[in-house]
């Protein structure tokens, strides 16, 4: 349907207005101005922040510059999460623009992975795709692809090319009709206050009696606290790409249309804002 294509485009071109400020503790030659940028939700921080780095390097001496890392209100931002996930998880109901602090020293080795170059991000991205496909198709589709097809997926993401990316990605979204869906749905549920980084388990899109599973079914299985029982006040928001889909949305459709480019359905469960 035409709407489906629109949804795909809206998901791909989602943007978050961000304001990058330099950590006041950094040693600078003169005062650094804040840098505003519209970050793509579906991409990763190291891929889209070259201009930010250049902007702040202008006011710093080269000997003070180590690996750049970002932090929001004291929490170091993990670069291997998609940007949209980071925003939904940490700052979904705050005033826009999203204020990120840029650091150039004291890299927190306990909390963050090092990312010396874009090829590391590419490797992580490709491994996510392969993991997702192993859940969906027992890795058959991704293994049938050639090296250049893999490259096309990454280049499409890196250069913000919707058509280039989806030319390859649609192959990963196909399934044999008799199955009714993928083998398992690749998803990750993120929670704000938890020791576990995320919840990821095996979950079929279609029940044994051929009923399509919905988002509600998934949450009931994986994170029942997120659901609001009748009569209770809503405690949690379930966010995918910054919106709250209805709980009756079919999971298979969600996986096909609201997945991130790494083919995972990233779900953020955040507390409802109290004010």
């Amino acid at each position: 349907m035409a709407d489906d294509k629109d949804v795909l485009r809206d998901v791909w071109f989602g943007r978050i207005p961000t304001c990058f400020t330099l950590n006041p503790d950094e040693v600078t030659e003169r005062e650094a101005e804040a840098y505003y940028l519209l970050l793509p939700r579906v991409s990763y921080l190291p891929v889209v922040t070259d201009k930010v780095k250049k902007h702040f390097l202008k006011v710093m001496r080269p000997e003070d510059v180590e690996e750049m890392w970002f932090e929001y209100e004291g929490t170091p931002l993990k670069w291997h999460y998609p940007i949209g996930v980071l925003f939904d998880l940490h700052a979904s109901n705050t005033v826009l623009p999203w204020n990120i602090t840029v650091h150039f020293k004291n890299f927190p080795d306990q909390d963050l992975l090092h990312c010396p170059s874009n090829s590391i991000v590419e490797a992580h991205f490709m491994s996510s795709i392969k993991e997702a496909d192993s859940l969906k198709h027992k890795s058959q589709v991704v293994n049938d692809m050639q090296k250049k097809d893999h490259k096309q997926l990454w280049m499409g993401l890196q250069n913000d090319k919707f058509d280039q990316f989806w030319a390859m990605n649609r192959k990963l979204m196909e399934y044999p009709t008799e199955d009714g869906g993928f083998r398992y749905i690749p998803f990750r549920i993120y929670q704000t206050l938890s020791d576990r980084p995320f919840i990821q388990k095996l979950f079929r899109p279609v029940s044994p009696d051929c009923n399509a599973h919905t988002l509600g079914d998934l949450l009931k299985e994986m994170y029942p606290d997120a659901l609001t029982n009748d009569g209770e006040q809503k405690r949690y928001q379930v966010l995918i790409h910054g919106i709250e889909p209805l709980l009756e949305t079919p999971l298979q459709w969600l996986s096909e249309h609201l997945s991130h480019p790494d083919n995972f359905l990233h779900i953020c469960v955040v507390p409802v804002p109290t004010d």
Binding site: D10, G14, G242, P250
Partner: protein
């Protein structure tokens, strides 16, 4: 039917939610972010950042993305263009500077050549002067020689009053004047040329070929005969003697009286 409506329900919900999200999170900030980036020099080159916010419609996102791509391409091209312009300017500048240097070197070469010419002329002039001086020096030396010879010829003529009778001695003494002397007695056949109007080259005799006792006393005069074979001498002993010049030796000929 119900299913399709339900279908549409959650799908439309999602679609609406996405649009709402974009309105809140993207469109309201797009213009501001673009204008803030406009303050940085790189983006001054790209006119696309002066674009107004997109109209809110279903096609907004699609034209958005196209517009984005186009503006990004335009930025890149503008940057390349300015870089090339800058390079061109720098190269033109270097060309001008090199031309100036060439002209300067040419001028230096010309002035050096002019100086060389000058020096050569000076050298030629100095050479000429040198030659002139040398020749005049030689002339002077000859004259000195001659003068010292005439002095020797008249040893007993302390006051220099004796006037020579023959034209030869006349001209010699006229040229060099009189001088006191007390030199050798001898005379010598001399290879002085006979004067003819203007004296060509005169040399003063310097060597005594023959020395002999001619008279008992002083010798007052000495004369060669016109044929140069006989020599007459007169002295204080009131005698005149004639000598014959034979092969460089002198023999007495005249009787004494």
């Amino acid at each position: 039917m119900a299913e399709r409506q339900a279908d549409c329900g959650w799908k439309r919900h999602i679609s609406d939610q996405l649009k709402l999200r974009d309105r809140v999170q993207r469109h309201t900030f797009e213009e501001i972010v673009q204008q803030s980036l406009f303050l940085f020099p790189v983006f001054l080159l790209s006119p696309s950042f002066l674009v107004c916010p997109h109209p809110l419609s279903l096609d907004a996102s699609r034209s958005d993305s196209l517009h984005q791509e186009m503006s990004q391409m335009r930025i890149r091209h503008q940057e390349e263009l300015t870089e090339l312009h800058k390079k061109r300017g720098e190269l033109a500048q270097t060309v001008i500077e090199l031309n100036n240097q060439i002209q300067q070197k040419d001028r230096e070469i010309q002035s050096n050549e002019a100086r060389m010419l000058e020096y050569q002329q000076q050298i030629a002039g100095l050479d000429g002067d040198c030659r002139d001086l040398r020749s005049s020096l030689q002339v002077r030396l000859h004259e000195e020689d001659q003068h010292s010879k005439t002095r020797r010829r008249f040893p007993h003529d302390p006051n220099g009053f004796m006037q020579p009778q023959s034209g030869l001695l006349d001209s010699i003494s006229n040229i060099f004047g009189r001088r006191r002397s007390a030199n050798s007695f001898g005379t010598s056949p001399e290879t002085t040329e006979p004067p003819s109007g203007g004296c060509a080259e005169v040399r003063v005799p310097t060597t005594a070929l023959h020395v002999f006792e001619a008279h008992d006393g002083e010798v007052n005069t000495v004369r060669f005969s016109p044929g140069s074979r006989l020599l007459a001498t007169g002295g204080m002993d009131r005698r005149v003697k004639l000598w014959e010049v034979v092969a460089g030796e002198l023999h007495t000929v005249t009787p004494q009286h």
